[in-house]
Symmetry: D3
Subunit: 253 residues, 6 copies
């Protein structure tokens, strides 16, 4: 089975970059996947991807060595399994608030006896290889997003769920849920403390830790702080920021 | 009929920005159209748009004040008319090499007696208003791309075609066709001279002049030189450049 | 933030028209949205829209002043949030049978602390404006469909859910659930009494009331009865009725 | 091979109804095809259909007895053949101005030795039957649209092209080309005379005659005048007219 | 209402063939539906179909007499209802583990008072006829997939759910769940015994029984054993097997 | 630049297999591309692919070592260039009847000074590498289809066109054009002689020769006869043949 390069990086003590994909187009996906980022995340929650565009985008990523992750719309077993069957090498599940929710999610990522994932990896065998059934349980990543006060409160028991691989911080929702601002690149002490708690809990349980960032400086700071996977940009953000930057500097006369 | 803001700008002595769209997605289009550029070009030649995505992208642009242009795949009357019927406020036709080719193109943009455009402006009436048939001949732009040695040789008689509104320089093809490099932001004296000739010819015939650029500096220089419409970026370019820039500066450890 | 014209109308003592969209095409949507109806509903339950066509249709509606509503497939938080993120200015949730179901639904429509909607309004910020996060809770509409015997029984406690904006009657399901006929434009006294009860309950709780109609006369009667939003037609119905009418009157010889 | 019901009707001395399809959706197509019209026309010129939606719409029509016609974007052999391969039982070609243009068009509709259509009827054999190659030349319809002053001038030699089956009047373009108004349901004496000439020429050459109408009365008048196929409505027109009619009669209070 | 040919076959003491569809394309669907199989299954769980392609594929199947079934992604009422509204004549629900799960599923397939299916059969009335509401409860098939140790343990009470029509064996998941191999065409005695138990339980409750096979011999053996519906192949399997067979026998020199 | 494996094979004295793709789906394409065939052909003429599905299919092929070819709809420069820009490593042009037609086609495949291909290889640079502009002229294949009496008559001058790489026989059209049967795997002596002439002409001009086959035996015979590329199957054919084979052997009781 094709290795999961993220696992390989982490085993080697390295960190991984990630780019978020909100534009449901194979072409923009393929451009980004060719830039050398360690992984990309096809976002089915707040991005505009759906199942059909996800398949097209996973195919586009498969032309490169970038590891394809999918953030599902919600903690729905059918949707989680579909993402994996289509060749995702990891699933990020939003808004995990409790151990039970995490078990439901992780179970959907694992074949029996570790979970209840149904057998039928249609594109996954093309992408990963013929021994997919035997090795996928130890290859694909199950990633729980911690982004609420409840998730934070229960983060230790969430992290203890067998088969979970990573805690991923959603800073904007986390801020809002804690009664602070809904923004990225948080500097609010209360939210920063919460982020640090998630990071520490992940480490304590031998899990990887990830976080979403929008500025280069903040992303570099998160690497320095110890995060294993840092989302450093999104396709929509690159377009908007690049365009706004031009608008400021163009002198039409 | 909704005004063509490009004409209004030029009449007022102003210049217009333009962004090129190669990603066939309404969402990325809508993001860019909201950044305040005067116009966008949906590229059906070297972009990945086709008729269906063009319609979706034109609809996305219609939520803003940005003027939607379409570059057609080739000088084909059916395709030119289809772009206009769908609501394009201007068509850029690639590789115009002669007066006859230009007449064929411009004729497809104009209703009788000025041309032979067939009547059936399906989306255009929604976008432009109920008086579309009466006013479209004087509103929508016919833009000939000059990008070959032949086009350059015949540029004067091309510019003389009645109903043509703009000459648009394709620097990469023009360079290659002149035996120089196929690149944007040309500084090769031979190609620069050719570009200047196109600009001067446009001005001599009372036409607008446009050009495709990739760097901010070159774009500003082209505005300074007198071009009326300058393509200052593309969606694919913004993504690739932004991503490459990040890659250089990210410090994963 | 762009106002919600439906709220504005109601505050001004006015009523609102609505057209139902079952055909998953941006073009037919744009035609209808240009006819001046106060709102349209993209139907993901019994219409043929899905997430991708919903995005295209929301974009088409955004070219007009018509307010875009979405009826979701089922009371699923992920789907409700996705509709709002894409720019819906209201969500209609089918088959609300109890207070708990209504709370689950309304919570998905509201950011903390009023609900648990996740932050990521991708198209919504383009449509509504940069202050979306601050103002969306008081702008977008949460609409519960009352269409079962259980929903009717519990209508008072459903209407009491904080953050709910409207009760919307589904006459066909309501009739069937009450052991009567599954039809629109109900005249069966038992169903009419149920409809009146929903209307009265909405008014008692300070909510708006809506209902689906198929004939002009019934729609006008519902406005006269006091409904604040009346669905007066559907795209599929307009096509079928218009075509059937023609078939009756065409004389081929 | 499945019969062409239009030919059967005409042989039996009957006339045929037709509905125009501009909305690129299989669902609206299937609704209309179930209303009992003798034929439908998928419009790739002024409608929003393209090759992919045409295939979907042809499939939808194939669930009924309505005969599927396609109007191509332009007189392009590749496009004409593709429509037939996908199962169209007739092709309408816009803007036929001369005998040569008509021969180019009709040749693309016929296999050797009658024409130069390339062999590969992918969906057509599913729709029509295994003997498609043997019988399609005498089954599918080649229909030339007469809608310009040139077409009118040369209508007799156009009608003489072997293998042509019908002359179809495009009233709006014809009016404009003759220096009159670009409108449907023409009553201008000059345009009416032109229409009559096309009809008479068709009859003189043993061809069928068709025309596009928008009002019921005009359509009935055209049947009475002797047209063999009359387009009595379009999907977009049904939607717009039905919606406008409602708008006039709705009393929101 | 159009009969459900599967019911007719079974009433007549006959068995039914089925082909699985994983490729989300109307064209490949239409090819297979024309081969004379009694039924096809559009797979939304492990196939690449989604709602939009399912609609297109159901339309393609509607051009033939083959009965269209849909396997839904998960036991979700909204999704089950959507498949039926679009014209599926039966729904296969994966991973039914208990009576409660089966009731939830079957209830979504039946209108009140037998279930809680919501009224709005958009395409279904086109496919089935105007009396759909009155007759669909006794026409469309509700099929529970038994493919886990829990499902096997509870198979008797699952089979007792009123309104259920068939038990369908998923051999691969069943094997894995029983601690054996995840493979089709099971010969492992433990799994074979489980399959036999499902078959016997179906018969004891007067239900039909179905099973997924990949080889011709195994499929024939399952018919001989008494299964009423046997999936004999999939589109993806036909392509892969045919291609692999060619690869073995081609002699390039 | 990524090598063109077909050229490498031929230089090494080897022959190449090819599979035809008529189903416009990335998934079936990816399945076939993983079977180890040397090349595939995405058919835009008689297959159901269009530009958008071609891009998706090219992306799917790019995950494998199989060489992607595209057969265009017609000899249209814009379409030829678009296929190459999207990453096709060869274009097959149907119905080349004369030297002039061949020059028009080959010119569209080559950058100046060898041809007039316009610069803008959007996906091609992702697939092939950053030196695409410099090396594509010697890498991508220009393939003329000989399939008419005229093409046969002029085959020598067609083969002499500089830059042409292969003559490809379309046996069905060729048979029909010669007054024989329109069928594959021709055994008619007149058509066989024509095929042999095309093969010999290709060899005489140092070009590769290719042919479309449907049976394994015929394909092997064509390899034995000296063809350099043999189309050994199509996706649609594999599905239909596999399904028909099953139908013959299934014993439902």
């Amino acid at each position: 089975m094709r290795e999961n390069k993220l696992r390989t990086l982490w085993i080697g003590g390295k960190r991984a970059t990630n780019v978020w994909l909100a534009v449901p187009a194979a072409y923009s996906t393929e451009i980004i996947a060719h830039q050398g980022f360690d992984s990309v995340t096809i976002d089915l929650q707040h991005g505009q991807g759906d199942y059909a565009s996800m398949c097209a985008m996973l195919t586009a990523v498969s032309t490169t060595a970038s590891v394809p992750l999918v953030r599902v719309q919600w903690n729905d077993p059918g949707e989680v399994m579909r993402a994996l069957d289509a060749g995702a090498y990891g699933v990020i599940c939003p808004t995990i608030n409790s151990r039970a929710e995490c078990e439901r999610f992780v179970g959907a990522c694992r074949y029996a006896p570790l979970g209840y994932r149904s057998v039928g990896p249609n594109r996954a065998v093309l992408y990963a290889g013929g021994d997919y059934l035997a090795k996928s349980n130890e290859t694909v990543l199950a990633i729980a997003q911690i982004e609420t006060a409840d998730g934070l409160k229960n983060v230790d028991e969430i992290a203890a769920v067998k088969g979970l691989d990573m805690l991923y911080v959603g800073p904007s929702d986390l801020g809002l849920s804690l009664g602070r601002e809904a923004r990225m690149d948080q500097t609010d002490p209360i939210v920063v403390a919460a982020i640090d708690k998630v990071l520490a809990t992940a480490k304590a349980h031998g899990l990887a830790a990830g976080i979403y960032c929008v500025s280069l400086d903040y992303a570099n700071a998160m690497f320095a702080k110890g995060f294993d996977l840092v989302t450093v940009a999104s396709d929509a953000g690159l377009i908007a920021a690049g365009a706004a930057n031009l608008q400021r500097q163009i002198k039409t006369i």
